[in-house]
Amino acid sequence: MAERSFKAEVERLKIGDGEVFEGEGILAVTKALLQSGVAYVGGYQGSPISHLMDVFADASELMAGLGVHFESSASEATAAAMLAASVNYPLRGAVAWKSVVGTNVASDALSNVASGGVTGGALIIVGEDYGEGSSIMQERTHAFAMKSQMWLIDPRPSLPVLVDMVEQGFALSEASNTPVMLELRVRACHMTGSFVARDNRRPPLTVAQAAQSPNRDTSRIVLPPANFLHEVEKIEKRWPAGIKYVQDHRLNEHFGTEQDDIGIIVQGGLFNSLNRALELIGLSDAYGNAKLPVYVLNVTYPLIPDEVQAFCAGKRAVLIVEEGQPEFIEHELNTLVRRANLDTRIAGKDMLPRSGEYTADVIRQGVAKFLRAHAPERAPVEVAAEAPALPPTAVPQRPAGFCTGCPERPIFSAMKLVQKDIGELHVSADIGCHLFSILPPFHIGNTTMGYGLGTAGASAFKPEGKRAVAIMGDGGFWHNGLTSGIGNAVFNQDDNLTIIVDNGYSAATGGQDILSSKAKTPQRSTNNPIEKAVRGVGITWAKTRTRTYDVAGMRDAIRDALTSPEKGPKVLVAQSECQLNRQRRIKPQIAKAIKSGQRVVRERFGVDPDTCTGDHSCIRLSGCPSLTIRANPDPLRQDPVAHVENSCVGCGVCGEVSHAAVLCPSFYKAEVISNPNRADRIRQRLRGWVIGALQRRSARQIAARAF
């Protein structure tokens, strides 16, 4: 079950010709795919494209009804390889993933499909995770498009344009026999808006029909001599065809005035920010009526030489607003201008920062600088920046952390306790929520090399004495970790420990089901245990702990693995359900049970402020969002006391941690019994009599010696 359900929105995907569709960018893309007669869809989740995969999953019934095949691919490489279906058959296919990391994983298959070319339209939707809110290395997908010669669409953020570009993307792909990438920036995926819909179209040929009558063409296979011909074909046939299509169908747009001696070229995705920047300078309005010519590249690769020449001709200087580095478009523009024998000065990274996100504010400063250099009469008056109202240190940073009740937290609490005993460990971390272990308060993890690569990242360590530890999530494990990590460790006779965090979902990407998920779903095969898989590839020391919240148990299991005399790679599967998903699942059930009068026990934790002395060891070992601090009610003490908020889900880790680490007696567990039964009530009455009497007596004694 994914973090967010799109069941209600999916209903809207059924609307037809002329109706207005309202919704988010990702829903618009899904609708556009259905309108384009797509035959198959695949992909791998990851921000900012996770919700696209969730929409697909929730829409799978609708897609099946239209004869569209959908699957959640095992990895981006799997998804990219699916595009093979478009090589021999006129089948339109779309795959989606998070870029640039997903594109890295997919690049082998992408190179192959780009080399041989496609018959049916092949669309690769990449969520560009760059800038604010990004969780990955800052690189450009553009480089992949260039090296494999796939066309790259970077639509300006507007739902009608987005929908149009999906449909044009397929046609462009078919016209040029080339896969097309459609790049969606983070906020564009979740931008709300509307567009006029068209009817959904059944694919003219379904994948099942194509498989009925196979078609084979060895010239499409990357093997000598065909591979050499592919290169020639790319240059002589597909490239010109692509350029012609983009030009004929006017995929790039012009805004603003026609004649001027300066102008701006911008990546489509940045157009709204550029327009706002111009507006702030007084050179545009809210409707894009710029007072200078703007050429919007909805297709950022390839550039269209004729269009560039026409735009640059007669202009002294043109600013290219291109986010990220290297500045591929700027380089290419310079080449095109030179070849066209124009004197136009191409300005770009000399006006705008070389790195970082191009927000409207950044672009505003860059455009102002450009104007001062090339059209000073139109440059805005420089105003001295107001002194900041606050120093940056006044506002604390908020690194992401484990959720309330997260079952991964106790694993790292246990590791901290083990490190107390046997010293610091080298920890090869992985990608997933568990990577938050490198942040406060745990500070565990030395490197992270990629999804599912935790174990591989530790494989150079052949320890004598102290074993290295690798962390891997269940998502990464099934993505590639089983082979690249565990299989490799067995084959190379490693002696390290791999802790596999098995929380039942690909949790970091939004809680999608995976092979080892506990949920039973009609469309998928789940419940395939991780321990069975690792034993299958030759692990002999494998243990599964089914309750990570048992901190002492986790600590002992980790210590055992690190001190066991047995040689060879060891795998400890640490199992407990992702609490975010669990709460979503059980909260309504509990509310219903209480309402219907059933006996329900709710557990939550608390801290007694009068015994807590405000050292916060518990927080340093746990880091739960519900475990926080508040002003010390004791007038004598200065340090804030620990405090458990009502958002506590009663996972019990704070109590277990304080037990295992011998911390303090301030933690208590409260079991709140709703709709108590007869036995509860009788016991409570009995206790009430005795305890009440004793409490009244001691209250009298306390009063007697009171101030």
């Binding site: 709204n272 702030l280 604390p396 927080i619 295992a660 911390l663 004793l694 101030f707």
Partner: protein
């Protein structure tokens, strides 16, 4: 607002606080009332408790063309900022979203960041600075504790923020249009409307956060009155608040005679009023050290049972059962025994090891069960012979040595030495670590006569990290 009538609204909050719900309502509100409205957000890692920004822009429908709306707030160009927490309001100011034309609506409650929470002492950022900046920078600032308002209304903070936004009058829509957006959202409508109303009312009254004055309790018993008049007669005015609190605490902790010892010790400290005031605080804390007797006593009180019921929000018809996580080690057990016996056991390694085996595991103590309640009651009644316990004798000796040192030090250094008591807190390893740090600083002072600022520096270093690296570096430096 720009000349086109466009309104930009940035919502700053923490993942999971419902900023997305609020953004959805605002988008609905705009779209249903004649505005082209666009909302955006960044899901993903930011949602896992990190800080995040939702952004909404709206512009009157029927303009000359399709409007181009931005996907991110632009510094200096945001009309309304809604912050779901005090530091997020600070972040909005820091990022330049708040100018003299911005309406800033922010909750004043705190959700502490991990670095603030995990500090060994008090790592909290200053909220006053943020409120001050909000008042001076924003065109208008509406700030109140929205979390508290939500809780009292039995609702969530997003609906309170929505109510406050409506009351601010910064959007050109009537109240019923706001409420219609909640209704059309279709989720927890009643609770959300309650929160909305609470936020609306609170924003209009705009309560100023008042600082409570120090409340000095009056004595209620003859013994209390006697000690109180002694404080008034013999201690400087500045020390009264802590001294009365100290006496109150020690009478509760032990008896009148113990409070009397406390005052005698305080009176023995010649010095300025600041020193006596701080000593009144720290001496009371040290003398009320947390032994097993004290912990048991506090755990079984009727007042504590009531407090827990309130904390866990138990309704009258619900039963609450309590389990404590206690881990008495052999050391703590021996310290509660008569001094000779306790010392005897701890001095014999083999016997300690043998007995220690019974105290290696933590205990789940069910305080609300008869068995454990009685056990804790018996333990608490140990108060009567506390003076004969090993721990009592150890602590009194430490206190006397500390006071001797304070008396012999220069006035400024003496004050800092008094404050070093703050290091001694907690239980088990935490207590030992604190005591060890304290001892190191004090020994260093004895050896070399540290200056006041030197002592303060070492004390800060002792609170910098758990492993004591900063303190070792400071001691070496």
């Amino acid at each position: 607002m720009s000349t086109s009538g466009r309104i930009s609204i940035a919502i700053l909050g923490l993942g999971g606080q419902g900023g997305g719900v609020l953004a959805d309502w605002i988008v609905q509100l705009g779209a249903n009332n004649g505005y082209v409205t666009q909302g955006t957000s960044v899901p993903g890692v930011a949602q896992r408790t990190g800080a995040t920004v939702y952004y909404v822009e709206m512009i009157p429908r029927g303009g000359p063309a399709t409007p181009l709306l931005a996907l991110m707030p632009v510094p200096g160009d945001v009309d309304i900022v809604v912050a779901s927490e005090l530091m997020e309001a600070g972040r909005a100011i820091l990022r330049g979203f708040v100018t003299d034309s911005t309406v800033l609506i922010g909750s004043t409650h705190r959700v502490y960041a991990i670095d603030e929470k995990s500090a060994m002492g008090d790592g909290r950022a200053s909220g006053e600075k943020i409120i001050q900046a909000a008042q001076t920078r924003a065109g208008r600032y509406i700030g109140f504790d929205m979390d508290d308002a939500a809780e009292r209304a039995g609702s969530v903070i997003s609906s309170v923020m929505f109510g406050a936004l409506c009351a601010s009058g910064s959007l050109p829509f009537a109240r019923d249009a706001f409420e219609a957006a909640i209704v059309s959202g279709g989720k927890a409508v009643d609770a959300n409307l309650r929160g909305f109303a609470a936020g609306f009312a609170a924003a209009l009254s705009n309560p100023e956060a008042g600082i409570e004055a120090q409340h000095i309790p009056a004595a209620s018993s003859a013994a209390g009155r006697e000690l109180q008049s002694r404080i008034h007669a013999r201690l400087p005015h500045e020390a009264h608040y802590f001294a009365i609190e100290g006496v109150r605490r020690l009478m509760d902790y032990q008896d009148t005679a113990y409070a009397d010892l406390y005052l005698t010790r305080l009176e023995s400290l010649a010095g300025n009023a600041d020193l006596i005031a701080e000593a009144a605080r720290h001496l009371a804390l040290w003398m009320s050290y947390e032994d097993t007797i004290r912990v048991a006593d506090l755990k079984i009180r009727d007042t504590r049972f009531e407090r827990v019921r309130a904390d866990v929000k138990a309704a009258d018809d619900q039963i609450v059962q309590l389990t404590e996580y206690m881990h008495p080690r052999l050391e703590e057990v021996c310290e509660t025994l008569p001094a000779g016996l306790g010392r005897g056991i701890l001095a014999r390694p083999r016997l300690s090891a043998l007995l220690g085996r019974f105290f290696t595991k933590g205990r789940h103590v069910e305080t609300t069960s008869l068995r454990w309640f009685l056990t804790l009651s018996i333990l608490a009644s140990g108060r009567r012979w506390r003076r004969s316990t090993l721990r009592y004798q150890t602590e009194q000796a430490r206190i006397d040595a500390w006071l001797d040192l304070v008396r012999s030090a220069e006035p400024e250094a003496a004050l800092e030495l008094v404050k070093c008591q703050r290091l001694i807190k907690g239980y088990g390893d935490t207590f030992e670590r604190g005591l060890h740090n304290f001892t190191q600083i004090v020994e260093r002072h004895r050896a070399g006569g540290l200056t006041a600022s030197g002592i303060a520096r070492l004390r800060e270093a002792a609170l910098a990290d758990e492993k004591g690296d900063a303190l070792q570096a400071a001691l070496a430096g």
